[in-house]
Structures are given as structure tokens and as C-alpha cells.
Symmetry: C2
Subunit: 317 residues, 2 copies
């Protein structure tokens, strides 16, 4: 018998389920369209059916539980609360619903906390007791690990470093406030910086020939690599903001490692080199040289499912 | 037999030792002049002699260990490292030295972490798993408790919220950088705000008749209570900065309670009312109403000794 955990990554559009072994191998995968289900009840039925289907004919598999990464998930309560990107409104007790439907142990947390657990069990954070992972995508998500445990806090929603206020009266944020870290330090933040620079500066730029809706962090990174001054400046300013977020996190929990994950982190050295330089400048001197800033050790395409499964594997191991 | 722990509060000028029972009663107290000892070895001898003297004739006492609160103390290593306010230079293995001299279990941490432990065992944080204490004195110290444990981090120096960068290019800080929270949100920060306002504004103020070296947070609070416009404005701006620090801490660990301690917290409602109002404005909406901001439950004069003793009592209990 092979012990496996179902790792479920619920996104606004799709839900991906993977069967993950204790070594972090994904031996089966299935998909659902999250957006097809107006009611959480129907989604739970569909997910249960999908898992049953994936188990069909595999008498060699022993499923130990279901770990779920989802937006606005509350680890303590197993609920999804007021998620703007999902059709299910209000507070949905998804954990209990799936446990009832399947008879299996279910755990739920948000995507970034799942990424932290995945990094700890299967990635570059094995054996690291104190670390932080920043996921640089549309927004900035974070998972914080203190003494080997993910920080969930009193509410279950701890680890919202994307909403550190870093610029008083700064950019408008989706949370309703201004100046949040993620309005600068994310793929979206990089594009916003490009737009501001295109207004502010007079240099030629390949980015002037794109619609703003076409500009992506990948295109900015490519333009910077090709010598585009505006793109390079935008990447530099974004790196500085990521560094400021790191410096303000380090005073809190003094991690040994900080992992950068997600679309923007794919820029590689073009991002890591300036982020490390600015972090060195910005961090409180007592912490200088006490931590390293590294790329995630999880493959981008598998990270969400691995992280979700790690919720259960961490309890079993 | 009465079980006791020696709680030792090492300051730059004086060292206070108290014998603390498991209920947080201080049944004996002794003092040394820290500044008299140029060498840590001599200080250790003097402290051991003091404890011996305090135990003399008290065969009813069973001493379980020595807990120490000291500046720049490293919990993991039991060392005091590069403390600017102590005469002992470099890295001093004070924990091991005192353990050798006395044969007792010794634990060491910084003042703010000790305050957090004191609050947890003997103060207003009994039974609270997730909280933060901010000590508002000359600087801003902090102790962070996550799931019932103080956060020490990889280095042992975690919890330096006074050095969150809150104003880019802001006030010069003792750490060598600019814009750290403690340059605004502390007793010293309040006085610096008064000085800037006296330059910026034209209103009459009783504070114009004091030397800047005479202005204290207490005098500012008194002037504000008497209707002084500059003093009231300074207290308001300081409250807003404390609130910003709280808002930026809440996204990290989502505490249930935040305690304010130290000289500035003595201002009572004049501080707590605006701090709560501004925190409500500044905090990420998902955390609004999920935590409370309260005064410390420890008596100011006993807090350091109680907190230091709690280092040992927490391990025993």
C-alpha cells in the first residue's frame, strides 16, 4: 500500500487535485472548474466525486486525508471567509463539508501558508526552523514559520505581509487602504511602477508600444534584460520595495531564510541581486548577514498541490 | 519549603534581584550597581554573593533557578552581545558564567521579551496564546508571543518592532538608519515630535518655556491635559505612529491582545483612546475588531523582576 494525501489547490477559475506521496511525488492529478459551481455544496460533491474517480482501480493507494489551499481560508475553523475571487459568499465551512462528504481528515489554509508548508516538507526549507516565504504574484502572499510551525495567529489569518503599510498615503490597494506593500512588491506592483515611470520619465521604451493591459512582469523583465531603461528602473524600484518588506519582516521573527516564489521570482538574478543589495542597506544592522534570500525549492507548477498536501503530511509525520 | 526563582533585571546603572514565588509574589529584593563593575567576571561574583546573602537564614526557601532580563541578551546562547549601555564589551557568556558560579539553572533574554513572559505568567496575558507587548520608554521594545511561546527567531534577537521602518528617509535612529518606529513611537519620540512642532507651529505653549532637555513624556501629557495645543498635537501624532506600528504588527501574527507598557503608557486614556481610534483606521480591514489594545497588567516597578523570573517559571510550570 502506498500512503497518499490529496492536495487540493482551489483557485477562482480552476481547482487542481494531486495525490502526493510522503516524499512529495505527485502520482495522479485531476481538475475541476471552480467557477462552474455557484454553490459550495455542489462543488463539494464534485470534488468528492473527482477524488473517488482518481482512486478508482487503485487499490494500492491508502488515502490519509485532504489538504486544501484556498483564498481567505481560516486554518483554525476550516472555513473560507468572504473570498472576493470565489462565487461562494459569506463564511463557508468547507473543511467540515468535505470531511462529511468523504469521511477523511481535512485541513485548510491559504495559498501562501500552504506554500510555506510545502517548502518545509518537500522544498528548500527542509530542516529550517525559522523562515518566511513571499509569493510574488498578482498580490504578495506570505507564509511565516516560527520554530517549525506556521504562524496562524488568533484569527487564523496571520501572515498578511502584503498589507504592511510601507508608503503613507501611497498607492490604492484592493483592501481599501493605501500604501500596502503588495501595491509595489508584486507582479502587479511592478506593472504599476512601469505606468508611473512612463508618465514621469521621457526615455524611449519598448513598453510605450504596449497597451498597459498587455504589460506583464515577464515582459518587463525581458525588456530590462534587453537594456530598456524604464523597465530596468521599474525592476530596481520593485526590488527595493521587496527589500523593504523583507527588512520589516526580519525585525519581527528573525528568520534564517527568506524564500521568494511566484511569477516575479522567475526573473532570477535580475531580481535577487538587487533585492539582496537593498535588503543589506535597509535591514537593522543587528540582523545583517544573519539570513539569506533564496528562490523557492518547489517547482512552480506543483507547488500549490504539494503545499496543500503538506497540511496533512505535517500532522502525520 | 517555598519554591522561588531569582528574577534579575540588569540595567546600565543598576541591577535588581527579586525572589519571586510561583504566584508572582516578590518576597525579597536586593540591589547592585551594574556600573561599578568594569568586568563581567566581577559582576558575576557580586551577583552570586548578593543572591547568597538574600538566601542567608532563609532555610524555608528552595531556589529553582535564575532568570535574567538584560539589554542585547541572546536567549538561545545565554549571551549579552555588543550592549551599548553596559561596560562589558563584545560577546559575554553571562548565562554560563552565572550558572558555573551558582550551580543553578540560568536563562537570559532581553527586557521586552521578559516583559512578555511576565505578562503571560503573572499579568494581563494569562491564558492568551497570541499577543504582543510594546514597551514605550526611551526606545520601543517588543515581545511577541505566538501560540503561547515567545518568538526568539533564528538569531535569538527577534521582536525588534522599534526598528520597523515606518517613514522612508525619516528621523535618525540610534541603530544608524532613518525612519524607525521608535524614533516616533516612544517617550523620546514624543519629545522629538514636540521639538519639531515648536519649530513648525506658532501657537503659544508652556513647552516653549522649558529647555528641550527638561521636556519629558510626563510633562507633555500634563500639558496636553491642561489644554496645551502643541502638547496635544504631539500626543496625537505619537498615538498615530504607535497605531501604525500596531497595524503593521497585526498583519504579521494576528494577536488577540496588544499590551502597552512603560512610561508613555502611563498617560492612560489620553494615549489609549487615540491609539485605538487610529489603529482602527490603519489596520487591514480583515483584522478590524479582532484584537484589543490594553495596558499591561504588571505593576511598573515589579515588571522587570517578575518578567525575568518568568523565564524559569515558564519552564518549570
Amino acid at each position: 500500500m502506498i500512503d497518499i494525501v490529496a492536495g487540493v489547490d482551489i483557485g477562482g477559475t480552476n481547482t487542481v487535485t494531486g495525490f502526493v506521496t510522503s516524499d512529495g511525488e505527485v502520482i495522479a492529478e485531476g481538475r475541476l472548474s471552480t467557477a462552474d459551481y455557484a454553490f459550495a455544496e455542489d462543488f463539494v460533491d464534485a470534488l468528492s466525486a473527482k477524488i473517488k474517480e482518481m482512486l478508482h482501480g487503485r487499490d494500492d493507494l491508502n488515502i490519509r486525508g485532504i489538504g486544501i489551499g484556498a483564498p481567505n481560508a481560516n486554518f483554525h475553523k476550516g472555513t473560507i471567509e468572504l473570498a472576493p475571487n470565489l462565487r461562494w459568499k459569506g463564511i463557508v465551512p468547507l473543511g467540515d463539508m468535505i470531511a462529511s462528504a468523504t469521511g477523511l481528515k481535512v485541513r485548510l489554509t491559504n495559498d501562501a501558508n500552504a506554500a510555506a508548508l510545502g517548502e518545509m516538507l518537500f522544498g528548500a526549507a527542509m530542516g529550517v526552523k525559522d523562515f518566511i516565504i513571499l509569493t510574488l504574484g498578482t498580490g504578495l502572499g506570505s507564509g511565516i514559520v516560527v520554530d517549525g510551525e506556521v504562524v496562524y495567529g488568533h484569527t487564523g489569518f496571520a501572515g498578511e505581509l502584503g498589507h504592511l503599510t510601507v508608503v503613507s498615503g501611497g498607492r490604492v490597494c484592493g483592501c481599501g487602504r493605501r500604501g500596502c506593500l503588495e501595491t509595489y512588491a508584486s507582479a502587479t506592483g511592478l506593472v504599476r511602477t512601469v505606468m508611473q515611470l512612463l508618465g514621469d520619465r521621457r526615455e524611449e521604451s519598448i513598453l510605450r508600444d504596449m497597451k498597459s493591459s498587455e504589460i506583464t512582469s515577464r515582459r518587463v523583465a525581458e525588456a530590462a534584460a534587453a537594456g530598456d531603461i524604464i523597465a530596468a528602473e521599474a525592476l530596481d524600484q520593485t526590488s527595493r520595495m521587496i527589500a523593504l518588506g523583507i527588512a520589516n519582516s526580519v525585525v519581527f521573527s528573525s528568520p534564517e531564510k527568506i524564500f521568494l516564489f511566484g511569477g516575479l521570482a522567475q526573473a532570477g538574478d535580475a531580481l535577487f541581486v538587487p533585492v539582496r543589495k537593498y535588503t543589506d542597506e535597509l535591514v537593522q544592522p543587528v540582523f545583517k548577514g544573519t539570513f539569506s534570500i533564496l528562490p523557492s525549492g518547489l517547482p512552480e507548477a506543483r507547488a500549490a498541490v504539494l503545499g496543500a498536501s503538506a497540511l496533512i503530511w505535517k500532522e502525520i509525520k
